[in-house]
């Protein structure tokens, strides 16, 4: 589940790759300009693809997709919590 929607993924592929494959390239907005950002380095360094995995903010490129995994984009959680 990503932002409340079900996403199909191959078990073990990264969450970033799974979202990219389904056409979701934008993962967040940059904090100052509000410009769209997506996965960039894919090795856990650039932090562009940060998402919420439960209580932890993690780069989506480092999180393997798994059945029942709950992911929220930063913007989605911010809106949900007001």
């Amino acid at each position: 589940m990503v932002d409340g929607c079900t996403v199909n993924a191959f078990e073990g592929e990264s969450v970033a790759a799974a979202l990219f494959a389904m056409g979701r390239r934008e993962l967040r907005r940059s904090p100052r300009n509000g410009a769209p950002r997506g996965m960039f380095c894919l090795m856990g360094s650039c932090q562009e693809c940060l998402v919420w995995v439960g209580r932890r903010k993690q780069p989506a490129c480092q999180v393997p997709a798994a059945e029942g995994l709950q992911i929220e984009s930063l913007d989605f959680r911010e809106q949900r919590l007001g």
Binding site: E13, S30, C41, S45, E48
Partner: protein, 482 residues
């Protein structure tokens, strides 16, 4: 629950790529108690990245030689009984080398007698207008998609930048059934030919390069030498990529009109930058060597740094390539074993000389490739003023130039004045290019230095660090008698 003391260990190795994994195996052979830590789910680093478990090996995909080498290493590690903590990030290292990790079960702390940093490199991308658009990814990122996710960066991709990854990625995309709109190489054909003498020792790699070229030619992919990306515009659902001729320094040649390529993805990279977060955090001495990737920890041939007990190995210690990294890791392990009293001076000298011979040939090749990937000053000079340089904080080149004109003399002042390098990536993405921009005003890379290393090295929440620590755990000293 009060904080537990850190677990003692002889050697903690950070990074389970070729350098770190081989170092761990070697150190264990000398009887050292070793802990190997990596933020990825398994060993192999970027070069020997495995497919996810259960992924379609069964689907008849021919495993690459890198996958085979990686699998052999992973099997060896599993058989060795070395303690490995994968999916664990190092978020802090203290001056006593105490290392704080965060993993699926929360935070743990370790107190090693020796610490080996084998954290490899990150990719450098010289910014251009549009490089922050989703769908523009690094060349190394494209390699990871192709290699470990069986995925294309797009249907039609422009591949641009410098170094051997260009042809590897373009050829990989074609092989996987994708389209390559164009390959834009900052180098010329003669730049490549100059690396031939160092390639003599590696006919296998030379042959691989020839095959890549042939595949591109057969597919009719335009290969533009001495070209770079001037800008990428988002148009409809795709990109319009403006390719600009460049001169020897990588500077855009303005009088020529750009060629325009339509694509839905861009893979771009301008070489690799050694990861020095941890050695900078520990205030080890560093030096700037452009042809080895930029700032590197000052170390001897076996990776001993200026800080007692702190060692570096592999590409993170200065780029020499994956093939050289294994021997370099073992050289560091031999140094650790000797320095911790597990190896006599004679045995140490013998092992060291043997390994240096193993290291030399692949390192010579790797350094020639690193030379091709070195930062080109003209490319930095050509960055347009309103281009975002620091992605985390949206700091533009114009703002960096303004800070320099206002008197920012080093990287830390630049950071304090503009927030450049202050975001969650800790300056890993922008630091090298921002340093080059500031150095153009101040005089030299040495004069501007690099960002001071700061914890947390990876984003971590206060709740995670505090763990189960509660109000009752706060030690309150007995009140002094009145």
């Amino acid at each position: 629950m009060a904080e537990a003391p850190p677990c003692p260990i002889d050697l903690l190795v950070i990074g389970a790529g070729p350098a770190g994994a081989r170092a761990a195996l070697r150190a264990q052979a000398y009887g050292l108690d070793v802990l190997l830590v990596d933020e990825n789910p398994d060993a192999g680093g970027q070069v020997w990245r495995p497919l996810p478990p259960g992924f379609a090996r069964a689907a008849g995909i021919q495993p690459s030689s890198e996958a085979v080498q990686g699998d052999a290493l992973r099997a060896k590690l599993r058989g060795s009984g070395i303690r490995c903590l994968f999916d664990h990030k190092v978020w802090n290292v203290g001056s006593s080398l105490r290392t704080d990790l965060i993993g699926p079960e929360g935070v743990t702390s370790w107190q090693p007698r020796a610490l080996l940093v084998a954290t490899g490199t990150t990719e450098r991308v010289v910014p251009f207008i549009g490089w922050t658009l989703p769908g523009v990814v690094g060349l190394a990122a494209a390699t990871i998609l192709l290699k470990s996710q069986n995925m294309l960066p797009g249907r039609r991709t422009v591949v641009a930048g410098s170094g051997p990854l260009l042809l590897a990625v373009a050829s990989g995309i074609l092989k996987a059934g994708g389209e390559v709109a164009a390959v834009l190489d900052l180098a010329t054909r003669s730049d490549w030919l100059q690396t031939l003498p160092s390639l003599a020792g590696r006919p296998d790699l030379l042959w691989q390069g020839v095959q890549w070229q042939a595949r591109l030619r057969k597919a009719g992919v335009p290969l533009l030498y001495r070209h770079g990306i001037a800008s990428v515009d988002a148009v409809g659902g795709g990109f319009r990529v403006h390719a600009q001729p460049v001169d020897r320094t990588g500077a855009h040649v303005a009088r020529t009109a750009p060629s325009i390529f339509e694509a839905d993805a861009v893979a771009v990279g301008h070489g690799l930058v050694p990861g020095t977060d941890i050695t900078r955090l520990l205030r080890a001495r560093h030096r700037y060597e452009a042809t080895r990737g930029g700032w590197i920890a000052d170390a001897d041939a076996q990776g001993r740094t200026s800080v007692a007990g702190l060692y570096v190995a592999g590409d993170g210690a200065g780029i020499a390539g994956a093939a050289a990294a294994g021997a370099h890791g073992e050289l560091a392990a031999v140094a650790c074993a000797h320095d911790l009293g597990r190896l006599t001076a004679e045995a140490h000298a013998r092992e060291r000389d043997y390994l240096l011979k193993q290291w030399y040939k692949p390192a010579r090749f790797g350094r020639a490739m690193a030379g091709l990937m070195a930062l080109r000053e003209g490319a930095v000079a050509s960055i347009a003023p309103d281009t975002v340089v620091c992605r985390c904080e949206d700091v533009t080149r114009a703002e960096i130039d303004a800070a320099a004109r206002d008197g920012a003399l080093d990287m830390n002042q630049l950071k304090a004045w503009t927030r450049c390098g202050m975001g969650p990536c800790q300056g890993r993405t922008c630091g090298d290019v921002a340093g080059a921009l500031l150095a153009a005003h101040v005089g030299s890379r040495e004069a501007v230095g690099c960002f001071t290393g700061r914890a947390p090295l990876r984003p971590v929440s206060l709740a995670e660090v505090a763990g189960d620590y509660t109000y009752a755990d706060i030690p309150i000293p007995k009140a002094a008698p009145l």
